[in-house]
Symmetry: C2
Subunit: 124 residues, 2 copies
DNA sequence: CCGCATCCTGTGCGATACTG
DNA sequence: CAGTATCGCACAGGATGCGG
């Protein structure tokens, strides 16, 4: 172990663009919201507490562009738009579940470490 | 399927604070760099192309605070500081590997979708 | 109901210069 | 070598108002 680190080790790495943009604030949650079937714009705003229409629109457009979901607009009065996961978007649930499992399992440990670190009396 | 979405569904969710801060630009890469053993500050700067001392310091401090790594300073001339993963930090490699696997497997699909989306002639 | 336009703010990140 | 201090930008995302 402990060979010198390769200066190119992250050059082509997929996380150059950070993990395909699942690391942002909303993408993962939107995937979860669509897990059980198509949802309307205003339906998504409910669990995504406090998200503004602008930001939700941006997130949905970006995910549509990446093939994670489809957007279907119905020419009705009042208008209705539905968003649904594609198979690609649905496949994201797998790595997300693993991440959540890690989080559930280790969060107490992490919080303890954080408390211990913050309680070091600086001039002890 | 398609029960109404619960407005509280993300309230206690671990990703309220975004997945314990692995979604940022550097944390995951630092974990990878430390996988094979302790590393010095300047060693880490090599593969982390272009990271400034300030940002690397901030990242390492934050990870130390969260119990992901340990910092050991040796009172020598010239100074030497080594960073090493804790078991908690090492455990992050598992979900990270799953995420990378997803990325490797689906990135072409995602890129195709993106190209298709971008090539829609707006005024067809 | 859906979503775009405009404006504004917080902050992650980078550049540069300096210290023990 | 391993940081700290200061400055500044870019960009995600929030507030508000208007349009189809």
């Amino acid at each position: 172990m402990s060979q010198p680190l390769d200066s190119d080790m992250f050059v082509g790495c997929a996380s150059g663009t950070p993990l395909i943009r699942v690391g942002d604030k909303w993408t993962a949650k939107i995937v979860v919201c669509l897990r059980d079937g198509p949802r309307r714009f205003s339906e998504l705003q409910v669990p995504l507490r406090g998200i503004t229409a602008k930001v939700l629109t941006e997130s949905l457009r970006s995910m549509e562009r990446d093939g994670l979901l489809t957007r279907t607009a119905y020419a009705e009065i009042p208008p209705r738009v539905e968003y649904a996961l594609t198979p690609l978007g649905r496949s994201l649930l797998v790595p997300m579940a693993v991440g959540c499992a890690w989080s559930r399992e280790h969060q107490p440990e992490l919080l303890d470490a954080r408390r211990a670190y913050d309680h070091q009396t600086p001039t002890g």
